[in-house]
């Protein structure tokens, strides 16, 4: 927490520029929901914010254990921010396991709010504590608030239990709302919006709504009336660009981006997918939006999902599938078919930790090589990656533009972090979105002296005609066997195969000719060190660069949205710096590609912890490569 006024007056409202708060508890404690609500309240207060949910892969890991701890981190600020924050200022630990797991991350001197009711001998033991951390000195560096959250909740709801509106267990379950109320008071957050939200969420069960609201208010009042909390804080509204905002997660943004692409392309959206973490929410979201004409198909596996999408693309839909690494692995053969048949479609990969099943609920950037190269034969295709949750919307539209313009399958990379984190999003005006209907044409007439040649292409884009079944006179057959140039007939001719292979590469390469110039962030204009990044590391890299500049180290930054083809002006750019650093949540996949392409001695910083980079960590690494021992 960085504060501007630290007047030590009891119960003073202290102004902060920003704060990082982490809610942690058992999977059953409702921490994700608590975090979501606090996020919504902070958004309404006008803060810029970024969130980082982190939950176990197991649906119901044993209660009270470290494996069962679920957490939600929120960074909110009166300034423009780009990461969910490194170390939390405030940790709300609903049980000993949550404390055990997250105390390490807390800032020195940070605040811990403990639910003391959960600090039973058994829970301490389950968390791996030999002694109660409240009494063994391990919390001395922190400001500890011991709050009997469960007991307070039960007392607040005594009447509800007596009236038989809910049982004791049900009452206990409202303890997350009590914690939320208390933290809301701490940060001067209004709770009326959450009250309204609870009323509508439990519309069918008014007694539950009432119990939750009662607990929420009890938490707020506890902060207000007890003397335990000397300060409370305020983070004012951030000077965001004027306009209407909402919070959006990456998965929501992909789903909305797809619907927007369908609307702007004037094509029906077909979405075929097989459930997999962390991509399933895209399917869930789209399944709710059928009134946009969206057809969703939950296939029997990922191969069928992309198969259905190839069929729908042949039929003239904007056809899309999404998965995560293991599912993308299953789709590879069909992606090759889409490359060979030159159909426009999108494959979204919400990356998670690998290899194999890996870390289903954690984030990683390790599928870049998979989507670039994971197909048999020479099968190049375009790849774009999202930088932030809301950028998933724009990147999805960009992918649709490329797919439709060049009639080619396009991969969209997101990751577990983007998928589930939220940030405020300045709502675009629909009329300002790219008019994708102008990016392509459906072919309705023969193109070769009264005949139709399905592989006769546009000279500029090299796109082949998109002739849809139902069109008389344009009957044609496509498939995975090599095609003859123009006619599209099966051909085993050696020279033709080489020509077609070159053509498939050239088709992808030409996409780069239509890309805007790279934007380099270098406020001083004098930086000799460049940081190049892609995907969700964008926020941490940006924050790290800002830190370095504050310390007088001039560093430039460039973010790559297009990973295939790489932008035309990239080579020149990389060659013009003394040092180029490329941080990735993988073992150096992009840096290897950039080295091979530019022969620049790119310095890679690689870590795969399942978590996004902390900006401190990145700043240290960049400094080391740029000015330190490794320079």
């Amino acid at each position: 927490m960085s504060d501007t006024a630290t007047e030590e007056h009891p119960r003073e409202r202290v102004q902060l520029h920003n704060a990082v708060i982490r809610f942690a508890g058992d999977s059953g404690d409702g921490m994700q929901l608590t975090g979501d609500r606090f996020t919504a309240q902070s958004a309404l207060a006008g803060n810029d914010l970024a969130t980082l949910p982190d939950f176990p892969a197991e649906i119901r890991a044993p209660a009270g254990t470290l494996a069962g701890v679920s957490s939600f981190q929120l960074h909110f600020s009166d300034q423009d921010i780009h990461t969910p924050g490194d170390a939390p200022d405030v940790l709300v630990a609903m049980n000993p396991a949550a404390l055990m797991k997250h105390l390490e991350a807390l800032k020195p001197g940070g605040t811990v709010i403990l639910n003391t009711d959960a600090f039973t001998e058994r829970n301490l033991q389950k968390a791996g504590y030999e002694d109660d951390p409240r009494y063994d000195g391990s919390l001395t560096d922190f400001q500890v608030h011991e709050v009997p959250v469960t007991d307070l909740t039960l007392r607040a709801l005594e009447g509800h239990v007596e009236r038989g509106e809910l049982n004791k267990k049900g009452a206990e379950r409202c303890k997350n709302m009590l914690a939320l109320g208390l933290v809301s008071w701490m940060f001067s957050r209004r709770i009326d919006e959450t009250e309204t939200w609870l009323q509508s969420k439990f519309a069918a069960k008014p007694e539950l709504a009432d119990a939750n609201v009662t607990a929420l208010r009890a938490g707020w009042n506890y902060g207000e009336t007890t003397e335990a909390f000397v300060f409370h804080y305020e983070v004012k509204a951030a000077p965001l660009l004027a306009g209407r905002y909402r919070n959006i997660t990456g998965n929501q943004a992909v789903a909305y981006g797809l619907i927007a692409a369908s609307v702007r392309a004037e094509l029906p959206l077909f979405y075929g997918s097989y459930p997999i973490t962390p991509a399933s929410d895209i399917l869930h979201e789209l399944a709710k939006q059928k009134n946009f004409g969206v057809q969703t198909f939950q296939a029997e596996d990922e191969i069928a999902a992309i198969g259905s999408v190839i069929g729908a693309a042949f039929g003239g839909s904007l056809a899309v599938t999404a998965s995560s690494g293991p599912g993308i692995a299953l789709k590879t053969e069909a992606m090759g078919l889409a490359v060979a048949t030159e159909l426009p479609l999108l494959v979204v990969n919400v990356m998670r930790g690998g290899p194999s099943t890996g870390l289903p609920t954690k984030t990683e950037q390790s599928d870049l090589n998979q989507v670039l190269y994971g197909r048999n034969g020479e099968a190049p295709l375009p790849v774009v990656a999202a930088a932030s949750p809301s950028d998933c919307f724009d990147v999805t539209l960009e992918a649709a533009r490329i797919a439709l313009t060049y009639r080619i399958p396009v991969v969209v990379l997101s990751d577990g972090y983007l998928a589930n984190s939220a940030e405020p999003w300045l709502l675009p005006a629909v009329d300002d979105l790219p008019r994708l209907s102008e990016a392509f044409e459906v072919t309705t007439e023969p193109n070769a002296d009264g005949a139709f040649q399905p592989y006769k292409r546009d000279e500029q884009t090299l796109a082949r005609p998109w002739a849809l079944p139902g069109t008389p006179g344009l009957e044609h057959r496509i498939g995975g066997l090599e095609k003859e140039l123009d006619s599209g007939h099966i051909s085993y001719d050696p020279a033709n195969h080489h020509a077609m292979t070159e053509l498939r590469h050239e088709r992808v390469r030409r996409i780069a000719d239509g890309l805007p110039p790279l934007e380099v962030e270098d406020p001083s204009g004098e930086a000799e060190v460049l940081v190049v990044g892609w995907g969700s590391t964008s926020g941490p890299i940006r924050a790290a660069c800002a830190q370095l500049r504050e310390r007088g180290l001039q560093v430039a930054r460039v973010h790559l949205r297009h990973l295939s083809p790489l932008p035309n002006d990239l080579d020149e750019l990389l060659r013009s710096y003394r040092t180029v650093v490329c941080p990735e949540n993988n073992m150096g996949q992009l840096s290897t590609i950039l080295r091979a392409r530019t022969l620049v001695d790119i310095k890679g910083y690689h870590r795969v912890t399942g978590q996004p980079f902390a900006s401190d960590e990145l700043a240290a690494a960049i400094e080391d490569f740029g000015w330190g021992e490794q320079a």
Partner: protein, 338 residues
């Protein structure tokens, strides 16, 4: 290229590509039958799509002057499902083989059938992997000796009709490549059926598995072995109808001399909701080396998956109104700055 005016003929469905199957392959006969039948049934080349997987049989779409996709091994039902859902105006046919449809693609076949997607699925069963030059397939009889099984195959074969009935396919039939009349009739009914129609076609691979269906095709044997299923008729067969199919107390079926059958003889009813009787019929022959039923095993009406998908879209439109993108983007909590 078709002119699309006036009455269409076989020529309008025949592409200019040279047919490349081995001379004598059963695929030729099936192709000729389909090419003649489609115009006869009023199909339009521009509204017809053939989707196939990989195999000799899967080259089929190249020879049809319709739309077509020669896809990847085993996945044709998946592609066809996406196409059928998104394009109700098309006639979507799937051509697959015993390896393509039952081995690598067994999963997709099963799910397309149980969903009852509006597809006409033709499974060319030659009891062999033709394209890869003669390995045994999931329909090869137990103990078959082929390239990969010099000492005899060890795994029990799948009976494709039993499989289709097991997942409650709504139209299930079997025919023979060279029996043009029978095949035409079975395909005609398949075309008229809304929902998944599954047709197993015994197809001779004269190169790697010649004579696999001799029991049903040889002049002097076929009358003894073809059990021709006719709706509403007692199931009897043989040159003089001297044999009959009867139901046993345990639910299975067996073959007895007609004079002993009495009223135990099974009256064929493909419209029966329950697939159990049809399934029992399919078990009369695990492989077609003796008496084997051919014809339509099952033909029932059930809601069609792709119709239902589209209905949900229409319902949502009726209930929520046409999607409004600006409103969608601004759904949930919004706040204004400035």
């Amino acid at each position: 290229m078709t002119t699309n005016e006036g009455k269409l003929t076989k020529k309008d469905f025949t592409s200019d590509r040279e047919v490349r199957w081995c001379p004598g392959c059963g695929d030729y006969a099936i192709l000729a039958t389909v090419q003649s039948l489609l115009p006869e049934m009023g199909a339009r080349p521009e509204s017809t799509v053939f989707v196939s997987g990989i195999g000799c049989s899967s080259r089929f779409p190249y020879y049809m002057d319709t739309y077509g996709i020669h896809s990847i091994h085993g996945r044709a039902p998946a592609l066809a499902t996406g196409l059928a859902i998104s394009r109700p105006d098309l006639d979507v046919w799937v051509v697959t083989g015993d390896g393509d449809g039952l081995s690598i693609g067994g999963n997709h076949l099963m799910h397309a059938l149980r969903r009852n997607v509006n597809l006409k699925i033709l499974l060319f069963n030659n009891e062999i992997y033709g394209l890869t030059k003669g390995q045994y397939s999931p329909t090869s009889p137990l103990g078959s000796t082929h390239k990969s099984t010099p000492l005899g195959s060890l795994d029990r074969p799948i009976n494709p009709v039993s499989l289709a009935l097991g997942v409650e396919a709504t139209y299930v039939a079997r025919s023979i490549d060279t029996d043009r009349q029978h095949l035409s009739e079975v395909l005609r009914r398949a075309y008229q059926h809304r929902g998944s129609a599954f047709v197993e076609i015994y197809q001779n691979c004269n190169i790697f598995n010649d004579g696999a269906f001799a029991a049903l095709k040889d002049k002097d044997r076929k009358d003894h072995n073809q059990i021709r299923l006719e709706s509403g008729e007692p199931i009897t067969f043989g040159p003089d109808n001297e044999r009959a199919v009867v139901a046993e107390p345990d639910g299975s079926m067996s073959i007895v001399p007609t004079e002993e059958a009495g009223d135990r003889v099974v009256i064929h009813d493909p419209a029966r909701e329950e697939p159990t009787t049809a399934f029992a019929l399919s078990r009369l022959a695990l492989n077609p080396v003796g008496p084997t039923p051919i014809g339509i095993f099952r033909d029932v009406d059930r809601p069609v998956y792709d119709d239902l998908v589209r209905e949900q879209v229409e319902q949502s439109r009726a209930q929520q109104g046409d999607g409004d993108l600006q409103a969608l983007l601004a759904s949930g909590n919004v706040w204004d700055v400035g």
